[in-house]
Symmetry: C2
Subunit: 220 residues, 2 copies
DNA sequence: TCATTAAATACATACTAGTGGTATGTATAG
DNA sequence: CTATACATACCACTAGTATGTATTTAATGA
């Protein structure tokens, strides 16, 4: 294959193939050659021209996939005429979470946590980042400031809710549970969150229900 | 090296070296050769005679390390003259958790979740197993049966508490937080657990404090 | 009870296919 | 003409295997 006039297309192809493979086979289970083989005609030289390591490909692929979702969340919370409590509820409403889910469902990460251990580690890490630098903690603090939320341990509550939401309510790394069990988990989390001053709202149940439907429709 | 009259000594040496290396360098970061190099004189043939794959070594190493702890827990709960609620509190009392912690501290798994992603995945998986087949859920159900615990969603509560205890209160895969923050997390979890009917007891705070001291003393 | 033998075990040695990554070559776009 | 976008050829290293060899154990026979 000769030189491409638009190399960003090549980069996009690489990242598309990589994302799909990393999800299906895990990080260690996917070789650079596997990726190259999906880039018909292209060779390893092309890949290593655009990326300096397998790890960089992995990170780039997921950053790219996550970017629109992060953007979507951030824009949703940018509005001024909402209290912190309202924004918190909105964070777990279907409109916020479902786009993310559609992405995960499309990528189909392996339900085996060991096989997807690197993804799991990223979600784990991300749960802390999300609560620290991301949207959740700032929203809670906003709610405390405007008086709409009464929470004694905002940082801790944010971390706990993030962790449970990302690793327990999202059925990424374990076989999909029956719908009623996922709803029970959601209600359980909502009760626990309420105990530390966070009202996740009623819509969170619909969110879980919709997630379940998407997952189920995707054939899990 | 000639044939050993007591091959179980060889197996033990292999597992000791493997455990230390897997903790320090992660699964993928540790090669069979790394392990062999610590077994002075021994060769890869010996290792592959006793174990059929790297994965089997990994599992065997951790199963062996965990066995006495699991045993300790199980024996502690075997006694008859305790209510479920009392057993639950005991599960999170220092005497139950500290032995486990000493082990972890000795092994020093990397605080980088990505580097230790396989261990993280095992802890994640283990959190569900622990709540399902392990001690927590049975104890809760015992408490419900004897009337000492009132919990509407035992399975969900057990999973949530297990997850948070293993991935949030145990400082395995993240840099150690200041002591007061770890205590705040503990109190937060206790509050959340109480909201779904589980009283973890007052001793859980001492447990966290002791864990922190062990970690700190180990030079984290 | 004890030597002799046969078989099973505990390793060592030598090798393979495949891996992530690099060095270098070549053609094309700017 | 130069910088970029690739291709080709290669490297050290990996998990795992096939095979060889010495030693322990078990079986045998007296």
């Amino acid at each position: 294959m000769g030189r491409n006039k638009y190399p960003e297309e090549t980069v996009a192809k690489i990242l598309d193939a990589a994302l799909e493979l990393f999800c299906a086979q895990g990080y260690e289970g996917t070789s650079i050659q596997d990726i190259v083989d999906r880039l018909d005609g292209m060779t390893k030289g092309a890949v290593y021209h655009h990326f300096k390591s397998k790890e960089e490909i992995f990170n780039a692929a997921f950053d790219r996939a996550m970017a629109p979702i992060v953007e979507h969340r951030r824009s949703m919370l940018g509005v001024g005429n909402m209290t912190g409590a309202q924004k918190l509820k909105r964070l777990y409403a279907p409109e916020s979470v479902v786009p993310q889910i559609e992405l995960w469902a499309r990528m189909r990460p392996a339900a085996d946590p060991v096989k997807s251990s690197r993804l799991l580690a990223m979600q784990y890490q991300g749960s802390f980042d999300e609560s620290a630098d991301g949207c959740l903690l700032p929203v809670i603090e906003e709610g405390i400031a405007d008086g709409s939320i009464a929470c004694e341990c905002p940082r801790e509550a944010a971390e706990a809710v993030s962790l449970l939401a990302n690793l327990w309510l999202l059925p990424l790394f374990r076989p999909l549970e029956p719908k009623e069990r996922m709803l029970a988990r959601t209600q359980c989390l909502a009760q626990m969150a309420a105990a530390v001053g966070l009202d996740l709202g009623n819509e969170v149940l619909q969110t879980t229900a919709q997630i379940w439907d998407v997952w189920d429709r995707a054939g899990w």
